[in-house]
Each structure stands twice: as C-alpha cells, then as structure tokens.
C-alpha cells in the first residue's frame, strides 16, 4: 500500500495512520511474539504518534516514522530489551552467498508456509524485523534505513545476513524432515 511521503496540508493523522494499521499490527505481532503485547504496542504507537504528529516534519516518510515509533516502543519494552541482540561485523559482511546448493530450489517444490513462519520466529529480532520490512512491507532500503535508524549500507549487509540465517534455518528443517522420513 502506498502512503504519501509528505502529509498533505489538512490531512488528519487518522487519514494517514489508519491505512497502516494492519501492517503495523502484523509487524508488532512478529516482534513481540505475543498477541496482547502486540496490541499494547500498536496502541502505544498510535498514542505516541498522535501526540507527536504536530511535530512530524513534512517531507519525511510517514510510514517509516510510524514503524520507527513502534519499533522503539518494542525495544523499550521488557520483551524488546531481552530479545534484541548485538550484531557483529555488519559493515564488513561479504554479500556473496555462501552455499552452492540453495534451499530456495527445495522451497519451490515444498512451498511450506508454516516452515517459513517457524524459521522467521526463530530468527533474532534484528534479522526478523529487517526481513519483514523488506519482504512484507516492501520498504526500500532508504525507508528501512529511516525506520531502523541505520545507514543504507548496514541495511544491505544486515539484510544479506538475515536471508542467509533464514536459509540456514530452512535447510535444517528441510534436512531434518528428510531424515525423519
């Protein structure tokens, strides 16, 4: 869904924010891994955003701004403080894929949605959130950069690492499934 990058004069907060509601909740639910906590997060996000809307600078990305508020709310929550882990070596990451045999080809055959969901859940929060922002929210690198408050280069390297980690998790599951059969 396209959201205007610049709030038009006279457009209310409600008109800009409510179209993002479903995606924000989905994102919050993925981060918190708990329905009640996700609901609290979304509610807190909207309350904070409404209070800060008058200071929202025209020309900046409203969607990225909303996601950043939600993410910051999550990071300052008890769950968020526990789940966020430091990621080492992001800037020096080699962006080349590590394996010749990719699990993607297997996924073409299996298309196991639940398996991907389980793998996403297992990912660390920094990897999970950047994958969700890129693949689910279809944000540009620049938007992700604004949302996570990290440089675009870091977005690229973290995204690469996240995809690689997801492939590893999927490989384990696929191989475990084959071993079980």
């Amino acid at each position: 869904m396209k959201v205007p990058e610049k709030p038009v004069t006279g457009v209310t907060f409600e008109e800009l924010a409510m179209p993002l509601f479903d995606q924000l909740y989905n994102f919050a639910r993925w981060l918190a891994q708990d329905t009640a906590e996700a609901e609290d997060l979304v509610q807190e996000t909207y309350a904070k955003a409404l209070r800060g809307f008058s200071s929202f600078q025209a020309g900046t990305n409203f969607r990225a701004w909303m996601y950043r508020i939600l993410r910051n709310s999550f990071l300052s929550s008890r769950t968020g403080l526990k789940t966020m882990v430091a990621i080492d070596g992001e800037a020096d990451e080699n962006l080349l894929p590590a394996e010749d045999i990719t699990p993607e080809s297997i996924l073409i055959e299996q298309a196991n949605r639940e398996m991907v969901q389980e793998a996403l859940t297992e990912l660390s929060v920094p990897f999970r959130e950047i994958l969700l922002l890129c693949e689910v929210e279809e944000m540009s690198y620049q938007e992700i950069s604004e949302t996570l408050v990290i440089p675009v280069g870091t977005v690229m390297s973290r995204l690469f690492r996240a995809r690689k980690a997801l492939r590893v998790l999927l490989r384990k599951r696929i191989e475990g499934g084959r071993d079980g059969v």
């Binding site: 209310t12 907060f13 409600e14 924010a17 409510m18 509601f21 479903d22 909740y25 989905n26 639910r29 993925w30 329905t35 996700a38 609901e39 979304v42 509610q43 909207y46 309350a47 409404l50 962006l95 080349l96 894929p97 990719t102 993607e104 080809s105 996924l107 073409i108 298309a111 949605r113 639940e114 991907v116 969901q117 996403l120 994958l131 969700l132 890129c134 693949e135 689910v136 279809e138 540009s140 690198y141 690229m156 995204l159 690469f160 995809r163 997801l166 492939r167």
Partner: protein, 255 residues
C-alpha cells in the same frame, strides 16, 4: 559480467535497489547465464515465501475500533468543546441582545402610547369650545379649583416676568384616573401641562420608570416629563423644545 560479481548484486537487483545501468548489465547476464538465472529464481521464490509467511497476523476488529476511536472521535470531541466554549457565550449574547431589543421595543411602544394619548388630550382640549373649565390667569384661583376634584394637590409657578401665561385648567383622565390639565400660552401657542399621580402609570402597566425624564419629540409635538413628589408631570405642545423646557423648569421649581 562474471557470475560471482553478478550474484553479489542479485539481492539489490531483486529488491529494485540497483541503479538502471547496473540493473541493465545484470539483466543481460541473467538472460545469458542459466546458473545465475536459476539462482535469481530461487531468491525470488524465497522473497515470495517470506512475504506470504510474514503476512500472518490479522488484527481484531475490537482493537481496530478501539484505536480508531482513540484517535478520531477525540479530536472531534475536542473541536466540539471548542465550538461549545465559543458558542455558549455567543448564544447568551444573542439571547441577551434579543431580550434587550425586545424589552427596549416594548418600552418604546409603551412610551409612544402614553405620549399619543396625552397628545390626543391636548388636541381634544384645544379643539373644544371650552378648553378649560376654570378660566383664570391666576394660579391662586386655578389651583384651589381642583380641590375635591382630583386626589392630590400641586403647586403652580409664579409666571411674572416669563413669556408664559396661564389660561386655566380642567380635570382630565388618563387610564380612568383623574388628573389636572392646565393650559398655558406662549406667544400664540397653547401648551398643555398634565399632572397625574405617578402610580397611575404603574397601576396600569405603564411603568413610571420607563417614562423618560427630559425632552421628548412625539407625533410632531415636543414634550417633557418628570416625576416629582409622587406626581408625574408632562408638558406637551407644538412650541419649540426651548419653550417646553423653560415651562418645565418653572413648574419643577414651583413643585
């Protein structure tokens, strides 16, 4: 483009983040290289799988309603309060204004009725064959004449040295209440002086306080009215306001 170099840029290419020139070069390579094309296809499938898997959680209608209400109706309610805060005083001012205008209009109508009636009495007396019942220029003759005819007494001024002449008096009625009607002459004009008990007007719904003290112009006549010692006096005539005021002053000074 070498395969290794191409695969390093494949994610950015599939994410739509590669510049046009680089994207074009990589596109050419993918069409020529089956291995890299298969790799690209696999990553597209992965992106698609994550997209589908990631779109997982549906929000409850209850939460949506709760948040929608928390951000939308609140602002409307606030604007409603602002509207009420502004509207209530405005409404009060409007009501007050209407009430004042209504009251003022009603009082003005009352005054008009009083002066119209007095003007009628003045004209009727002058049109009469006997405008006065007691004909005398002497105040000491005219004043006693009213004794027993009206329920009050009054003083009349000494006119020596003034331009006014007392012609006489008669008993008159206003709202079925007796009063004194005196006629004075100034040059060739007759001027009526009416004296009633002040309560006459209150008793008949004509509030004394609403009758003006001072000069009045009504129905082509000049007039002046004042209350003094429980009596209400009116001077009515077709002379100028200066003469009306001069006679009024003489009467007030005598009272």
């Amino acid at each position: 483009m070498a395969c290794e170099q191409g695969r390093g840029k494949l994610d950015a290419y599939l994410d739509g983040e590669l510049g046009p020139a680089e994207a074009s070069v990589l596109g050419v390579h993918l069409r020529a290289c089956a291995a890299c094309a298969a790799e690209a296809l696999g990553r597209v499938q992965m992106k698609r799988a994550v997209h589908v898997a990631g779109t997982r959680y549906a929000v409850s209608a209850e939460l949506r309603d709760r948040i929608a209400k928390s951000i939308a109706p609140k602002t409307r309610r606030e604007s409603g309060w602002h509207w009420q805060i502004l509207a209530i005083p405005a409404l009060l001012v409007l009501i007050l204004s209407v009430a004042v205008n209504f009251y003022a209009g009603r009082e003005n109508a009352r005054r008009q009725r009083v002066y119209s009636e007095l003007a009628d009495l003045h004209v009727a007396a002058l049109a009469s064959a006997a405008p006065v019942d007691v004909v005398s220029t002497d105040r000491h003759t005219v004043k006693p004449w009213f004794q027993g005819k009206i329920p009050f007494t009054f003083n009349l001024p000494e006119l020596q040295g003034s331009e006014f002449t007392l012609l006489g008096g008669r008993v008159t009625y206003f709202a079925q209440t007796p009063g004194a009607h005196l006629i004075y002459q100034v040059r060739k004009h007759e001027v009526s002086v009416f004296i009633f008990q002040d309560r006459t007007f209150g008793d008949h719904g004509e509030e004394t306080a609403t009758l003006p003290t001072g000069p009045v112009h009504a129905l082509s006549f000049n007039a002046e009215s004042w209350a003094q010692g429980g009596l209400r006096c009116f001077v009515v005539g077709d002379v100028g306001p200066e003469e009306i005021q001069a006679l009024s002053k003489l009467l007030r000074d005598a009272g």
